[in-house]
Symmetry: C3
Subunit: 467 residues, 3 copies
Amino acid sequence: MERPRHQGMAKNTCMRWRLPLVCLLWEAAMIVLFGVFVRFGAEADAHWEEEKREMNLTSDIENDFYFRYPSFQDVHVMIFVGFGFLMTFLKRYGFGAVGFNFLLAAFGIQWALLMQGWFHSFKNGKILIGVENLINADFCVGSVCIAFGAILGKTSPIQLLVMTLFQVTLFSVNEYILLNLLHVKDAGGSMTIHTFGAYFGLTVTRVLYRPNLEQSKDKQGSVYHSDLFAMIGTLYLWMYWPSFNSAISDHGDAQHRSAINTYCSLAACVLTTMAFSSMLQKKGKLDMVHIQNATLAGGVAVGTSAEMMLTPYGSLIVGSISGIVSTVGYVYFTPFLESRLHIQDTCGIHNLHAMPGLIGGIVGAITAAAATEDVYGKEGFIKAFDFTGEYQTRTPSIQGGFQAAGIVVSLLMAFAGGAIVGGILKLPIWGDAAAENCFEDDVYWEVPEDEESDAYHMHNPDKPASP
Amino acid sequence: MERPRHQGMAKNTCMRWRLPLVCLLWEAAMIVLFGVFVRFGAEADAHWEEEKREMNLTSDIENDFYFRYPSFQDVHVMIFVGFGFLMTFLKRYGFGAVGFNFLLAAFGIQWALLMQGWFHSFKNGKILIGVENLINADFCVGSVCIAFGAILGKTSPIQLLVMTLFQVTLFSVNEYILLNLLHVKDAGGSMTIHTFGAYFGLTVTRVLYRPNLEQSKDKQGSVYHSDLFAMIGTLYLWMYWPSFNSAISDHGDAQHRSAINTYCSLAACVLTTMAFSSMLQKKGKLDMVHIQNATLAGGVAVGTSAEMMLTPYGSLIVGSISGIVSTVGYVYFTPFLESRLHIQDTCGIHNLHAMPGLIGGIVGAITAAAATEDVYGKEGFIKAFDFTGEYQTRTPSIQGGFQAAGIVVSLLMAFAGGAIVGGILKLPIWGDAAAENCFEDDVYWEVPEDEESDAYHMHNPDKPASP
Amino acid sequence: MERPRHQGMAKNTCMRWRLPLVCLLWEAAMIVLFGVFVRFGAEADAHWEEEKREMNLTSDIENDFYFRYPSFQDVHVMIFVGFGFLMTFLKRYGFGAVGFNFLLAAFGIQWALLMQGWFHSFKNGKILIGVENLINADFCVGSVCIAFGAILGKTSPIQLLVMTLFQVTLFSVNEYILLNLLHVKDAGGSMTIHTFGAYFGLTVTRVLYRPNLEQSKDKQGSVYHSDLFAMIGTLYLWMYWPSFNSAISDHGDAQHRSAINTYCSLAACVLTTMAFSSMLQKKGKLDMVHIQNATLAGGVAVGTSAEMMLTPYGSLIVGSISGIVSTVGYVYFTPFLESRLHIQDTCGIHNLHAMPGLIGGIVGAITAAAATEDVYGKEGFIKAFDFTGEYQTRTPSIQGGFQAAGIVVSLLMAFAGGAIVGGILKLPIWGDAAAENCFEDDVYWEVPEDEESDAYHMHNPDKPASP
């Protein structure tokens, strides 16, 4: 009836030994690798007093901690509450949404500290970490949370851990290529986080295509209160996105500017989302799916350009467009992707991250190409694009070209990586559920008998009422 | 039955073309006006390096961003999650509470940046914005969220957008009169935000009086889990109120002091609210309506005086009194207002914002009038009340008089403005719902069939079970 | 039936006069005591300008407010939303969980400001408060929230207020002994907050042992959405724990380091918790009770050592172990404690706070004993352990011994204090509910008829459908 009891499970979804094994092995590996490689950076080390003298700092307030920690905490909330609760919209997958997101993110940040550390904070054989590393680890995991959105409800926790391992690795490589080799600016991660994460996830879900997913169609929707839980996620993502885009920008004006641009873009995005949500429904009613997701596209779409002189009205334009694109995507593209391209995208990450991410990359390239010393000031110009050392002679238009190249690289990495990782996840050893048991917490979680089903049993004398 | 299907709607509530039109037109207007007027302030502009030299600042940490951004984010959470979820207590209006609050606030902050910008940040034909402007825009929208509380469940989203447009405008004029013409101190907005916002909203709901609202009485209550959702809103408002009252105070001691006073006032308020909630119920049981709302009155009531030398015990006294007044208001005044004065106040903003706002204004006037150089120190005295330039000769008692005048002006603006805007909203073109469909999300939202109603249908064979 | 109506209550649980009396009396006492003793500290006082000159500070950003306020707000969220919602897992006790936590914490912080103030901030007959006092008051109340977890659902609000009064007092005495007499380091409170709070609560619940608690067994579980509400609490505790452990550390590297260590420990803890949760269940399914609680043990267990040079891999090890210990505790120890020792521990604080708190104390002692000038640097070494003045000659190994003594003192204070307070709470005058009405909001709260019960009544023609 109503909720299929999984007595007829064809697949072995028992996690009893596999999940503990993977978790414990990987945590052990983390401990060993951290032991060998990870140490405190100068600003978190007890030698800070000496460091302060050397760097000629007069006050503890100059410690990077005070520049970035509040933003770090906001980003942290976005990853764990924001993404976690955004995905609780499914009526019977709230535990999996919040719980698996918690699991993969907790593992991912450890691995990301290592991977990103080797690329960016490696000195004399040690990775030296500080608050900026924590933010970057959270960012990296953000891209995994995005990909999780595409396969939500269809994968086992082990598959998610395997995917996290590979995706964090690929993310770090891609990030290194963009930031270090191409010298691209992408503080809010339109390319590195959103474009890469979304197309990676979409490729994975394509490879894992389930032809019989119709069998769990009744569980793919929301119920009234699950939509409210999801709004908690939405609002925390929306409110803290200015912190996300400004968290690792340069101290001072760049952080300040990023926050303002993002604030403006997001505000505009809400209005165009509401407009199109109502316009595209026959009776003009608003659709919670759009409000929960498309309102956030404005934050994605200024990810690259927020720290540039995009200007507030530029941000309003970008936010307005991305809200429209995203809402239209939910109404027309998602069904198309599923029926024609066999891309089953549970949360619609194509609309919330993939397309707005591309917009973000393009807007970033244009904004960079259009930069002038007049607008930025002589010093500000050099500082904003880091045109020093070997990049001293780079012009804005060349920078714009490299920015565009960054989009292409991210896409290629996402497609290639997603295909390989999808292939690995397709192996029949990871314990994923059968099609009729997708989107159902009962497979991997002890689920309490809830009040509603008490009521249900009460009126079905042939079924026992006890839990 | 149970939940009236709105087949018999007398009114046309279809938003399909009206809502998109309003949203898109206004967003287009915002883009044009931002394009003409809004630019980055000095601390968010790429010319910051030069600015720093001119202002003789040695470190990026002196950027206002680092003084105010954490408080800004707390205020942001209060507006979107705080007010949004506080209003989800209604059993069938959670989408409207969170969603419409989201819509009006996202529009309101854009318009507020312009309106407040013209009054306060206008230089050489441009509005120069920074983090303080973002906070002020959120504050301004806070007063709209308050007014929304009075008409919650009875208005269409278009009416809310129209009200927001006018209320933000009037708020900015009132704020200009108070802060610039009367030279009044009101950092936490007891007068400008709460008194003005609440009496404005109460006047609007009086004009929109619905004699047949009894027809939707069954939907005006809460259910168990909607009360818990509302507590999320309550707690975020309560916890972050110290940030609210200190967000735009002077750097240093004033911000510090505001936070402490507000913390103390709120703590005391919880105890007197609990006491009176239990005392005023026959069986001594606590009422969630009081806990959700009256516990916050202490934050409202120190809004004006928190940055002054109110002292911690002064704050305890103010908080204690406001908790009592607010709880008594819910028990006795709200029914009276509805039955005698025809003021239908869905959330009881009269108790949470109007009366405590007045208390706040009065306490502020008294605290200002009682200020002495002895208590503040010579420099502190001048700095706290900004007794410089043309106000050099103002005495505390005169300042107290001006503070009191600020209350009166706010009230007059609220009544006059509310009457006019209420009249506009009464026009039969905005698509508000019939009385029997008030407090029902189904009118403006696609609502999922929820589990409970599945159960319902299951046992009613004559009704189809499919969504 | 289903939910026992409490018609047969043997005990008088009516709070109508008792609760208001206690609340109002105590608030009046707070006002008087604050009036006599509490004033603003130098950094929150209007004389700050003069103070700045005296302390030779050049900028307002040097005000302690900017070093600690963001962390304070995170801690504040942990106390009110974190603990409050963590305890909403019970199906019919959500109001009590959030509401009573709100009540006791709001009272507790006032009393803690006084108690801790007399011990630590008393100058010339006045308690001078600033943001650090607010954090410490929240910390102190945290230990009461922990104890509340053991007796959740079984006590009246008056009992909770009485317990808070005594526990805050004892906490402050214990804290004074540890920090001032033993000169112990415990910034994150593994000993002062967690060990003391948990064993205090466990002793109280032992004294209050209810042999017939089986009668309300059906209400001691969760329902689907109550588990999701609880996850809000869990995640906010988890995310903000780095702020908790770093909030009162020394400015600069110590705050920075504490946050990093805590972040690492918590991440590791999630993986081992998931592993053991799955491993210890027959079908390998994850248990929400473990995810909600044991994932937090890593934060508790680095409370003492986080500001020391524990190093990131040290944190991973501590976090991993505490996740295992805590999960195993839920599966094996909690039933044992209940059946053999008659300790009824509603939330399992023995697993989340008591054992991890002990681990934290021990790890702290070891880390302190192992400290060397080489690792900390000459200045850093002295600063980290405050080896100045009369403690100039203390060696790391002696410090380790004193740290260990701190654990013992905390345990003794907890057992003795808990026994006495438990005895007081056993008096039959406080209005606690009968065993069959435990874990039921209906006893102390006006509870709305909810949708589920509407459905229920609808199919029971012999019961009236009206609320």
